[in-house]
């Protein structure tokens, strides 16, 4: 009996522990080890950061530093790093970023490399497969090979990694970031390869987009004439980044004489391509930046502003910090996991970036010459593909072996016959070997003092192309459409191309002194908002996706402003006026046939007539307009909507739809499925009815507004709702300067006045800490939503006297 009792007790004890310790015995879901997770010695309670207590002064030893480094953390929880040399500064940047953002860094690098199935199981195999077929690890390794040629700067990357690892290797017991405990895995060592992976991930966010299939389908279905009419490449209402003031005249002549072959059309595939839905980049990715010269400001010194619009996440993509050495004093935001400052300022200059929408991702149809698709035709020769073997580890399952075929153009990303782009090769600029040390652009900008320094630094930045804006306290303002741009024949890369001829390849890259650029224009400002880089008169051809409206808001506002103060600029970054609504709504209202509408429509029409085109959070009009315009497009483009689902297409751009509205009897307004002949008036009226039907009781509820339709939110990186901020109360829309679009929007707002000393303001929609248990996880979100700013504490020097201005002071030695 006693023996039985003992063994019963033993078995129960061990059983209890095992159930809590090895959840993988019970479930394949990545659930936490509950005993470990709830223990106040190891679990989540350890991540509950005290919200008032911080050590006054702390010494952190054994840091492999050349000289001691002091870090003062201000009341926003933003660190200010005071080092004796950049080498040490990079080390400490790595250490601090890891302490605040380790899970985010680790997760992002694994995701980019296509290594999520090993953590979360077989559901992630398709995701991993796609990442590996594109070849992120391969191209990150290629980047490292190029970077390593610049040993001095590569050393900064290595020091940053050493700093990250110094933190990882001495994480105090129980203080592993919460998400590791929740999902039950451990961080890996940080390496230059991971830095490069995150850089490539950023490139994918910014320049991966491609419409080759849709464009090819549309042109084939509609015919060239209708296609050209509906899908023109340039919206004349746009205000381009760089206008044509005759600066390209000689270049045009030179190019026409030297390379007549570029002027000819390339061989374009016109086979209909079946396509199932597959993920595309979100059009919410975009940004604004502008710089005004001293003659337009109250202080007489330039002001530079930047707000990059990205997927809004917690932890924030950006990590704010100041880096101070005897030679360099700079502040701004870095990408968590990448050394240096990406957007920011120093004592003399400021810089910022927005994305360039030029298409640098082209697809080539491969002519296979054997059944196994291992040989293909290139310039009349049979060429074997290179086969890359890869192993995807899968949690709870056998590893999956993956074969990727590499052609002369690039990888075959999809091989299943029912997938879009099946059997086609992808040539994506950011997958090509690097030609520069891209990060050196930022190392250069961090210490730039003049316009010439900026130009020299910027030229290292080859991809993802950015409108790189600049201002200095010497009074210069400038912008460069900065990147490597493939030289293309007209229309090249817009459609799927024949991959059997190298004549369809890019014709080199546009020389850096011929990329669009602008310095100190008479109008007194430079700006960009993801619009076209240039008017069509620019001698090099490019296509892509560009925003039509924010550029007009910014251009028109800055043109009329004078005596500008930083406060004016902050207001402008939060502006919610829509040129799209202004362009479209008067036509739509004028066309309404009120005799055809039910009585409930009349108050709505009155409301819309009185609307000032501002997308305010607490107004119904933006909802009415947005939904009405959406329905109107569906009615107008019924010819396109009724194409079989197997043919991927999209509607003409909104500006094209609006331009058609003045031609009220255009045949495109006739509905294909009716006997009668409809005109724009019929379409406007019918779609108004559609809008009322789809919004239904929301219209009459009196408590449904733009914010409820747009639903601004900031999601946790692993989409855990408990760690996310949902339904934030704020104004704006993706075509207004304050480009709030669901979970996309301004991921950093910065206003810098280049006075002496410099004055800077900014904030991120999150906080410094990546720990959901820290009060500094999302402390800036409310002020960000309300359009408030913080004056950034840009310290001239280490300040050991005003301790109350800091949360803590730490000495690394």
């Amino acid at each position: 009996m006693r023996r039985f009792t003992f063994f019963l007790a033993l078995v129960l004890t061990i059983g209890f522990i095992v159930v809590l310790e090895r959840p993988d015995f019970v479930s394949s879901e990545p659930i936490p080890r509950m005993g470990h997770f709830l223990s106040p010695f190891t679990g989540f309670w350890k991540n509950a950061t005290p919200d008032s207590y911080f050590p006054e002064k702390e010494v952190i030893d054994n840091q492999q530093l050349i000289a001691p480094v002091t870090v003062q953390t201000d009341t926003l929880d933003v660190p200010h790093v005071f080092a004796q040399n950049m080498d040490d500064a990079m080390f400490v940047q790595g250490y601090l970023t890891a302490r605040d953002r380790l899970w985010q860094m680790d997760f992002s690098a694994r995701a980019t490399a296509g290594r999520l199935a090993e953590l979360f199981g077989p559901d992630l195999i398709p995701y991993d497969t796609n990442q590996r077929r594109i070849g992120f690890t391969r191209s990150a390794q290629n980047a490292i090979n190029e970077w390593s040629k610049n040993a001095a700067k590569m050393h900064f990357v290595e020091r940053y990694c050493q700093g990250v690892n110094a933190y990882i290797n001495q994480i105090p017991k129980g203080e592993l970031p919460l998400e590791f405990k929740l999902m039950n895995y451990k961080p890996e060592q940080w390496t230059p390869l991971k830095v490069a992976l995150l850089f490539k991930a950023m490139a994918k966010t910014l320049n991966y987009s491609h419409d080759d299939i849709e464009m090819t389908n549309l042109r084939t279905v509609l015919g060239q004439k209708a296609f050209d009419f509906l899908y023109p490449e340039f919206n004349p209402k746009q205000k381009t980044v760089v206008p044509d003031f005759g600066q390209w005249d000689s270049l045009k002549v030179r190019l026409a004489a030297k390379h007549p072959s570029w002027q000819g059309a390339s061989s374009i595939d016109s086979t209909l391509t079946t396509a199932l839905p597959f993920p595309k980049s979100n059009p919410g990715v975009g940004s604004n930046n502008w710089a005004v010269s001293g003659k337009k400001t109250k202080s007489g010194q330039p002001i530079l502003c930047n707000d990059p619009h990205l997927s809004l996440t917690l932890p924030s993509i950006w990590y704010m910090l100041q880096i101070h050495t005897p030679d360099v004093n700079t502040m701004g935001v870095s990408l968590a996991g990448i050394p240096g400052i990406t957007i920011g300022f120093n004592e003399d200059v400021a810089w910022g970036v927005t994305n360039v929408g030029q298409d640098v991702n082209d697809w080539y149809r491969i002519t296979w010459t054997n059944k196994n698709h291992t040989r293909y035709l290139l310039d009349k020769e049979e060429i074997p593909v290179r086969i890359i073997l890869d192993t995807i580890l899968v949690k709870g399952q056998k590893p999956v072996l993956l074969e990727t075929k590499l052609t002369n153009w690039g990888p075959i990303v999809y091989d299943q016959p029912n997938k879009p782009y099946s059997g086609m090769a992808m040539k994506w600029l950011s997958n090509e070997p690097s030609s520069t040390f891209e990060l050196d652009a930022f190392f250069g900008l961090m210490k730039a003092k003049t316009y010439d320094d900026y130009v020299a630094a910027a030229q290292n930045f080859t991809h993802p192309a950015q409108n790189m804006i600049f201002a200095s306290n010497q009074g210069d303002i400038a912008i460069r459409v900065q990147g490597n741009f493939p030289i293309k024949s007209p229309q090249q890369g817009r459609f799927i191309q024949d991959g059997s001829s190298t004549a369809n390849d890019w014709h080199g890259f546009i020389p850096q002194d011929e990329i669009p650029q602008l310095k100190n224009p008479d109008r007194g400002f430079v700006f960009s908002a993801n619009q076209n880089s240039t008017p069509p008169s620019y001698p090099y051809y490019y296509s892509g996706g560009f925003n039509d409206y924010r550029c007009r808001s910014i251009h028109n506002k800055l043109s009329s402003m004078s005596q500008i103060t930083p406060k004016d600029m902050m207001q402008m970054q939060n502006d919610d006026y829509s040129y799209k609504a202004k362009d479209a709504l008067p036509f739509m209202l004028a066309a309404l046939d009120t005799s055809e509408l039910q009585s409930g429509a009349f108050p709505l029409i009155e409301q819309l007539k009185n609307w000032d085109y501002h997308f305010r959070k607490d107004r119904l009009e933006p909802v009415l307009f947005t939904e009405w315009f959406k329905k109107l497009k569906e009615r107008t483009w019924d010819e396109i909507a009724q194409l079989p689902d197997s043919i991927a297409v999209f509607y003409p751009e909104d500006w094209r739809t609006i331009a058609l509205m003045s031609d009220t009897t255009h045949p495109y307004f006739d509905l294909a499925f009716t006997e009668e002949v409809e005109d724009f008036s019929d379409i406007a009226t019918l779609s108004f009815g559609d809008m009322m039907e789809s919004l239904a009781e929301k219209i009459t509820s009196k408590d449904y507004f733009w914010k409820d339709y747009n639903r601004p939110s900031i999601n946790h990186l692993a989409r855990l709702p408990a760690f996310s901020k949902k339904n934030i109360n704020m104004s704006g829309q993706r075509n207004t300067i304050n480009a709030i679009n669901g979970d996309f929007g301004p991921s950093w707002r910065m206003v810098v006045e280049l006075t002496k000393p410099i004055k800077a303001y900014g904030l991120i929609p999150g906080g410094a800490s990546g720990n959901p248990g820290s009060p500094y996880y999302d402390n800036m979100v409310d002020d960000w939503a309300n359009g408030k700013y913080y004056e950034l504490m840009f310290l001239k020097d280490l300040d050991m006297t005003a301790q109350e201005a800091f949360l803590k002071t730490e000495i690394f030695r």
Binding site: R2, R3, T5, F6, L8, A9, L10, L12, T13, F16, I17, L20, E21, M34, G35, H36, L38, S39, P40, F41, T42, G43, F44, W45, K46, N47, A48, T49, P50, D51, S52, Y53, K173, L178, L182, L720, P721, A722, F723, P772, G773, P775
Partner: protein, 124 residues
């Protein structure tokens, strides 16, 4: 009195051991205390339950207090709308049961040894 001493041993030894070793070593702490003090199995289990519960509750309670319940509230939502107080209770329960089960095993082990040594008296 010996009950109290056994409880103090669990708290003191547990505190020390938990700083450096996995959470489940609470079972060993409970077993050690019960084996040493040689009490009824049920009594040992209860002392373990209370000792382990207190040892896990207090640091969790303090962490929660200093954090203003910020994280506990989020974790509660994550686990299906548990309140921070319920999470604290759950924490104490797991600490307690682990220690209690260990204590029960320890106590039962002591009985077993006594039997094999031929000494079969009931402990007080």
């Amino acid at each position: 009195m010996k009950h109290l001493l056994q409880l103090i041993i669990i708290l003191g030894l547990g505190w020390f051991v938990q700083q450096h070793s996995p959470w489940w070593t609470m079972a060993l702490v409970g077993a050690f205390a019960a084996f040493t003090f040689h009490k009824r199995r049920w009594t040992s289990f209860m002392i373990g339950l209370i000792g382990g519960g207190i040892l896990w509750f207090i640091p969790a309670y303090l962490a929660n207090l200093e954090n203003n319940g910020l994280l506990a509230q989020k974790i509660g939502v994550l686990f299906g709308e548990l309140s921070p107080n319920l999470l604290l209770l759950l924490t104490a329960t797991i600490g307690g049961i682990t220690t209690g089960l260990g204590a029960w095993t320890g106590s039962a082990g002591r009985y077993l040894m006594q039997k094999t040594k031929g000494n079969d008296t009931q402990p007080k």
